[in-house]
């Protein structure tokens, strides 16, 4: 154990040096783009079961590049930026089961500002050891790196996975994988209430599937990623979660809970999380997908709840629309560092947000879809934030590159 830990830390120390090498971003993109289409499969959270002992590989990528404009009361913000996620994995039959390895990278440490992407009322993680407010943080360079073994036994399918960086059994599918959010470059304001633990350093998950039902439990490190986006934030596994999932045809649902040990740097107290969601993904030409989700953070200074409803629909083979509506309780007015022994009930601000967007696929090649789109977001500002924020609004105009077969595709996932 000690040896593996040393090895992991050594790797972590090497990553920043590699990451700072000139052109590493371009190299990573070229490597992903150079993998032949024949090796690709439709992206799934768990790759399609291989039938032989040969490796079956799958690659997926989603890259947004565009202009982000945030209208505010006192000072507007704007930036050219790129949100991007690159995924690769492989699976092979091993014994009576299936062994799968997966990875996920993001170049956001270099394609977003250090402070992140400007987004009114967004919260979560820190910048210069202060709570990050009005920005979506850049994701870590290594967002996922792990392996899973699943095997059928006594009418159940058993699954055991271990990840250096992974997602514990909690919440709905993370927004960048959700079909209902596939063309939306913006993270939900509810991200840190229901699906933010997708970049968790150190995760062990065990689960079983019986028919339509899946029960899984994870043991993981509860601390949020630090501000160094190129290292591995390894540490003791001190938190746990449980998720019950259900799937039938186009429908899926989950309910989950997590107990976290000191998840936030600025609030060194334990916390609990609850989540529930329902998802519908229609696999015909219209590709209608929507998700309704609830998340609650139960912290020492109060319970904060978030509600989300988002959808995506193809109008034609080339045109699609998407929307997201949220109502999220934020403690922006009292977010700050709380040393041990100092805490108080936080004032809450129930923020509403509505995003509507449109995207048109302009170019389709055998290996990629390139679309041009844009969206507008308006906000419902509570009284206690009106003095500071007024009536903010934002818009994005972007080009989206998606690696996948020709025609609009919706990724599917298995929980």
């Amino acid at each position: 154990m000690r040896r593996s830990s040393r090895a992991a830390l050594s790797f972590a120390e090497r990553v920043p040096a590699f990451a700072r090498a000139p052109g590493c971003c371009a190299i990573a993109l070229i490597v992903v783009a150079a993998i032949p289409l024949s090796l690709q499969a439709q992206h799934e959270h768990q790759p399609a079961p291989p039938t032989t002992t040969d490796w079956q590989w799958n690659v997926d990528a989603n890259v947004f590049f565009g202009y982000n404009y945030q209208y505010r009361k006192f000072r507007d913000f704007s930036a050219w930026e790129s949100q991007n996620w690159l995924m690769a994995g492989g699976a092979r039959r091993t014994g009576s089961g299936i062994f799968a390895a997966s990875s996920m990278l993001s170049l956001e440490p270099w394609t977003l500002k250090d402070i992140g992407s400007s987004q009114a009322f967004q919260t979560g993680e820190t910048f210069r050891r202060a709570p990050l407010i009005d920005y979506q943080h850049p994701h870590d360079f290594i967002m996922g790196l792990g392996a899973t073994y699943q095997v059928p036994w006594r009418q159940l399918t058993w699954r055991l996975s271990g990840s250096i960086v992974g997602s514990p059994a909690f919440g709905p599918e993370v927004f960048m994988h959700r079909p209902s959010a596939a063309d939306n470059p913006q993270a939900p304001l509810a991200h840190h209430y229901m699906d933010s633990m997708h970049v968790t350093p150190g995760v062990v998950t065990a689960g079983a599937t019986a028919g339509e039902w899946t029960l899984a439990s994870s043991w993981f490190r509860g601390r949020e990623p630090d501000e160094n986006r190129t290292d591995l934030d390894l540490g003791p596994l001190d938190s746990y979660s449980v998720r019950l999932g259900w799937t039938r045809g186009a429908w899926s649902a989950q309910a989950s809970g997590a107990s976290l040990t000191k998840p936030e740097l600025v609030t060194p107290y334990d916390a609990k999380k609850l989540s529930a969601s329902v998802t519908y993904v229609q696999a015909d030409a219209r590709r209608i997908a929507w998700t309704a989700a609830f998340g609650q953070n139960r912290e020492i200074h109060g319970n904060l709840e978030a509600y989300l409803l988002e959808g995506h629909m193809n109008l034609t083979l080339r045109d699609a629309v998407y929307a997201r509506a949220e109502s999220v309780a934020k403690d922006i007015l009292d977010a700050g560092f709380h040393p041990p022994g100092v805490f108080h009930r936080h004032r809450q601000s129930q923020v509403g947000a509505l995003t509507v967007g449109y995207i048109r696929d302009m170019w389709a090649t055998p290996q990629a879809l390139i679309g041009v789109g844009g969206d507008v977001t308006g906000y419902l500002v509570p009284d206690n934030l009106r003095d500071a924020y007024g009536s903010p609004a934002s818009f994005h105009v972007f080009v989206r590159y998606r690696r996948g077969p020709a025609g609009r595709t919706i990724v599917t996932h298995v929980h």
Partner: protein, 171 residues
């Protein structure tokens, strides 16, 4: 030509020269007079317009009031006490103000700040500073009037880095 004829011719030319000179000098004199006439007239018009303008610009009482004693140039108003918050911290770190004055905090950072009285959250003090509170980028707010001569520390509730703390000395 004889000498007599030559003398006559020279005499006629001399008379003619004298007549041309008189005409020339007369013309020059008229031009100069017209010049000075215009000069004086324009000066008078300027004076008249200036006096008219000063009358119109006054409050109506100064024109007839006797001139008072000269008080000299008015001193510029003192700079309002301002503390600017930048990504590198608050500036100035120590500000001296008079009793009863307010202090304006301006957030020039990219992130919100939350200005509160006292050296840290565990030791709240000088509650007049709490009126500043939450400041988004670009926003400015004032403290309440600082009523007592003393030193007041303040801190940023969002960011506890020492660079975002400071002191207001009230005299």
């Amino acid at each position: 030509m004889s000498g007599t004829q030559l003398a006559k011719v020279v005499g006629v030319r001399a008379r003619n020269r004298a007549t041309i000179g008189q005409i020339f000098s007369l013309a020059i004199g008229r031009v100069r007079r017209a010049y000075w006439r215009r000069k004086i007239l324009s000066l008078l018009v300027t004076i008249a317009l200036a006096s008219l303008a000063s009358t119109c610009g006054s409050d109506g009482s100064s024109g007839s009031a006797p001139p008072g004693p000269s008080t000299g140039p008015t001193p510029p108003p003192p700079d309002p006490p301002i503390i600017r918050i930048a990504p590198t911290g608050s500036d100035p770190k120590q500000l001296i103000v008079a009793v009863g004055e307010r202090v304006t905090f301006v957030n020039n950072d990219l992130q919100p700040h939350d200005i509160q009285g006292g050296p840290d959250p565990a030791n709240p003090d000088c509650r007049e500073i709490d009126a500043v509170g939450f400041l988004v980028p670009g926003q400015s707010k004032q403290t309440l009037p600082l009523p007592v001569a003393r030193a007041c520390d303040y801190h940023d509730h969002q960011n506890h880095a020492p660079v975002f703390t400071g002191r207001i000395v009230i005299r």
